[in-house]
């Protein structure tokens, strides 16, 4: 871990969620909350990590923030723990309000919880877990970036992340059904079909900004001849920003609603769209907070689902996608679930030419959007861009080798890479797997 040639002063971001939250803090409250979380909620795992870390810094080379900031140790994973959690531990919670403000910004906007560093740590210390503890403390202190806090509020009221109201959801599905019937006249999006094999769930932006993804999924389901349904009630959104703000109670409420909706509909499994963090929330974090060791109803991420459809011949490819493509391995479904080879199988079945970016698979660099970072909003966009120069270099290299289209099967990756694409003027075309599958699949003549 080398020191940079010169220190670069970062312009302080103004975020009302942090500023006003910090103004309300008192030393006693800070100490009380830190102790409450560290002693009351964090057990042997935290102690083992704290006692085991030898401060070797080998995690640094894993982090896109560190690599993109000229190897400045302040941006290294261990550096971020040192600036936040270790100080709290060392001072037994007697830290200042300004310290909490800085800590909240580091934990929420300078770590994507991507867990690449855990692979580089000789002891496998999960720094993402430590950062989540820091976010939990900041949540309990009321110091969370405004945009993502608003999203957590939306989750708490509507059980979705975009303030989509009770009528807007089924209305959107019916609109998409009607649109898709222009292409396949008998196509249906079956709502509230009890006993269907599959409940298809999406994330909040689906009905709000990306209704075409629901359209595509409906076409895929119909052509594959699947017995599927979508709920008309809250529980349709699998996403979960409360998981990233440290509001575990709302996280649990959202996940309970999601699983109980699937259980009410008596489906055999839940198939979800191309979202990484939602998969993490359903398959790992949210379900376990509720006491489910594994999801009570099995989950299939879109990558697995497309893999099955192609393998079983339920979807056939009419003509492969001609442009040369490369593939972004999302952290939550690759490091988190090992779907990288299935993803490559899908890509090779639907695209003529696929070339790898390097590094790839579980070693791929994070998009710098996930972990709730992009959800902290415009105040942090420039930081997010500067903090992923390494991704831009990685993409530029694969573009130089001929890749024109970047496939990103995760909403956060997709949005984050769009920003990188524009900021660094890479000129790549970014698509979901479903975009391409929909484009190349055999469809009946309308």
């Amino acid at each position: 871990m080398a020191e940079p040639a010169k220190k670069v002063e970062e312009k302080k971001v103004i975020d009302e969620g942090l500023e006003k939250g910090t103004d309300r803090l008192t030393p006693d409250r800070i100490e009380k909350v830190i102790k409450q979380v560290l002693e009351g909620e964090s057990g042997a795992r935290l102690k083992a990590y704290v006692d085991t870390c030898i401060h070797c810094g080998l995690c640094s080379e894993a982090c896109h923030y560190y690599l993109s900031h000229d190897n400045d140790p302040r941006w290294s994973p261990v550096g971020k723990v040192k600036q936040t959690l270790w100080e709290m531990l060392k001072k037994k919670g007697r830290v200042s309000a300004d310290f909490i403000r800085t800590t909240a910004e580091i934990a929420s906007t300078e770590c994507n919880l991507c867990k690449r560093c855990a692979m580089y740590c000789p002891f496998g210390i999960d720094i993402a877990y430590l950062m989540l503890i820091v976010r939990r403390i900041c949540h309990r202190l009321g110091v969370t970036p405004l945009y993502i806090q608003d999203t957590a509020h939306s989750h708490s009221v509507t059980m979705n992340q975009m303030w989509v109201k009770g009528d807007e959801w089924p209305d959107t599905l019916q609109w998409q059904e009607e649109e898709a019937q222009a292409e396949i006249p008998t196509l249906r999006i079956p709502l509230e079909k009890e006993g269907a094999d599959i409940m298809y769930s999406v994330i909040g932006p689906g009905p709000k900004f990306q209704a075409q993804l629901i359209y595509q999924a409906a076409v895929i389901m119909n052509i594959a001849g699947l017995d599927w349904t979508m709920p008309a009630t809250p529980g349709w959104d699998n996403s979960d920003m409360a998981m990233f703000t440290g509001d575990n109670e709302i996280m649990g409420r959202i996940k309970r609603t999601h699983f109980e909706t699937a259980a009410r509909l008596k489906v055999k499994r839940i198939v979800m769209g191309e979202c990484g963090h939602a998969f993490r929330s359903i398959q790992d974090v949210g379900n376990r907070w509720l006491g489910w060791r594994m999801p009570p109803i099995p989950i299939a991420h879109a990558i697995e689902f497309y893999y099955e459809l192609l393998k079983e011949g339920k979807i056939r490819v009419a003509k492969k996608y001609a442009e040369t493509v490369t593939f972004q391995d999302p952290c939550n479904v690759v490091r988190g679930a090992g779907l990288h080879e299935k993803a490559r199988d899908v890509v090779n079945q639907i695209c003529e030419n696929f070339i790898e970016m390097h590094p790839n698979r579980e070693h791929n660099y994070c998009c710098c959007a996930g972990g709730g970072v992009i959800n902290c909003g415009p105040p942090y966009k420039l930081k997010r861009m500067k903090s992923n120069r390494i991704k831009a270099e990685q993409l530029f290299a694969v573009k130089s080798r001929g890749a024109k289209t970047l496939i990103a099967p995760c909403h956060n990756c997709h949005s984050g890479l769009e920003d990188i694409n524009h900021h660094y003027e890479l000129g790549m075309d970014i698509k979901f797997l479903g975009d391409i599958l929909y484009e190349v699949m055999e469809k009946p003549e309308s």
Binding site: E16, G17, K20, G40, E41, H139, R140, G142, L146, Y147, Q149, D150, H153, S156, V157, T158, W163, K165, G166, D167, P170, D171, Q174, Q181, P185, T186, R188, P190, L191, E192, K193, G195, A232, T233, P234, D247, E249, G252, R253, R256, A263, K266, K268, L290, G291, W292, R293, M294, P296, I297, P298
Partner: protein
């Protein structure tokens, strides 16, 4: 509530409709629904682009609609659907649309006897509930978590009482949500209000509330309990004495509280779906005594068996002495009664049904895409493309089976001893 004493319980089978014939008449037919008494089968059918109707035993409703969804039989046997005409939505009951039309309607609910029908309503981006076609006088900027009293005469929902622009986290945290009962909002606002319950007489309402981002409790008729918790789940009222019971979380564990004070001496990794026996003397709930282990607890005492994946659909027997639930382990569902697991397991099991004398338990089950029923752990020899929940006769000696196979919908009355021997 069933009107089953008025139904035909003569043993035998009646072929009611051939749905395959319908398929030749319409562009498509949607999921069939059987009436509670089994005498009717109905489905939404598409006539042509933008033209929908409902087919009941082969007969169409008189009116055609631009769109129809959420076809459901009420407990009293009336057939309801959400229907659209000229861009407006309402409810149609047996083909007759409510006079009042709205911007959108959804989430149909019925009173126990089916006489009252309630839906959520959006009109000009304002929200309320409508009962039997009549909307609340007051409307709100958002509405969630609707609830109705057992007799359906009273309605409630969580409502937003002040404007909120996106990103205004500070106004939100001051509390702009409350419960509205029959349209009238409680005096107090909260950060969140969820999952209301009516008292059996419909006179009181309890709800989960969040007082700030961290403190949860139960509010009864707008007044929060004196204690707060790290989290709470939905409350219920005692059938007789007005006590309010809810799962509460403190120190990372769940227990059951009555009117704000713990009443069970044990704590659990999880606790929800608490329910009273019909006589009000016993309380049962879904619990996780250990991480990843799920069972039922009666009066705070867990069954000795546990499921690895989930437990749901619990129900007390009519005489309050027995308890059945559906559990899932290793990807298979089964039924447990009083802590004893059935030997048979299934790809899916629906909510168990007790006989009126509480001696027998029946449930709709599915294996390999075929449906049938199981009674007291014995699987009926026939299986079908579709089956609806079984219904016991008032004397408990016969079962109504509603089955669909090869398009043929059949109403069957089967002697119980034929199923259990």
């Amino acid at each position: 509530m069933h009107y089953s004493s008025e139904w035909d319980w003569e043993v035998g089978e009646k072929s009611v409709a051939d749905i395959n014939q319908w398929k030749t008449k319409f562009n498509w037919i949607e999921e069939p629904h059987a009436s509670p008494n089994g005498e009717q089968v109905a489905a939404i059918v598409n006539l042509s682009e933008g033209e929908f109707n409902v087919c009941v035993n082969g007969q169409l409703w008189q009116n055609v609609f631009d769109k129809i969804w959420y076809l459901r039989f009420a407990p009293d046997g009336r057939l309801t659907a959400l229907v659209s005409e000229m861009g407006e939505w309402t409810v149609a009951v047996d083909g007759v649309a409510w006079e009042n039309k709205f911007g959108y309607v959804w989430d149909t609910r019925f009173s126990q006897d089916g006489r009252n029908i309630v839906v959520a309503v959006q009109q000009d981006m304002q929200y309320c509930l409508a009962r039997n076609g009549k909307p609340w006088e007051n409307t709100y900027q958002n509405l969630t978590c609707m609830a109705i009293s057992p007799d359906g005469k009273r309605t409630a929902a969580s409502v937003q009482t002040s404007p909120l622009t996106e990103g205004d986290i500070f106004t939100f945290q001051q509390g702009i949500y409350t419960a509205a009962v029959d349209g009238a909002a409680w005096d107090k606002n909260f950060v969140n209000v969820w999952n209301m319950a009516f008292s059996p007489d419909g006179q009181s309402v309890a709800a989960e509330v969040r007082l700030n981002l961290y403190d949860y409790t139960i509010a009864v008729n707008g007044e929060p309990w004196g204690h707060t918790f790290d989290c709470v789940w939905e409350p219920i009222f005692h059938p007789d004495n007005g006590g309010v019971f809810a799962p509460v979380r403190a120190g990372g564990k769940w227990t059951l509280a009555k009117d704000g004070d713990p009443v069970w001496d044990r704590k659990f990794v999880q606790l929800w779906h608490q329910m009273f026996s019909p006589d009000g003397k016993k309380m049962a709930a879904v619990v996780a005594p250990k991480y990843g282990k799920w069972t039922m607890a009666v009066e705070g005492r867990p069954w000795s068996i546990a499921f690895d994946e989930m437990i749901s659909e619990a129900i007390f027997s009519p005489d309050s002495t027995r308890l059945a639930a559906v559990g899932k382990s290793n990807g298979k569902y089964s039924v447990a009664v009083d802590g004893t697991l059935w030997k048979n397991s299934f790809d899916m099991v629906w909510k168990p049904v007790f006989s009126p004398d509480s001696r027998h338990v029946a449930a709709k089950v599915e294996n390999e895409g075929r449906y049938t029923i199981a009674v007291d752990d014995r699987i009926w020899k026939e299986s079908y493309e579709a089956v609806w929940d079984p219904v016991f006769s008032p004397e408990g000696d016969r079962l109504l089976l509603r089955t669909l196979d090869n398009g043929n919908y059949v109403r069957r009355i089967i002697p119980l001893n034929k199923l259990t021997r």
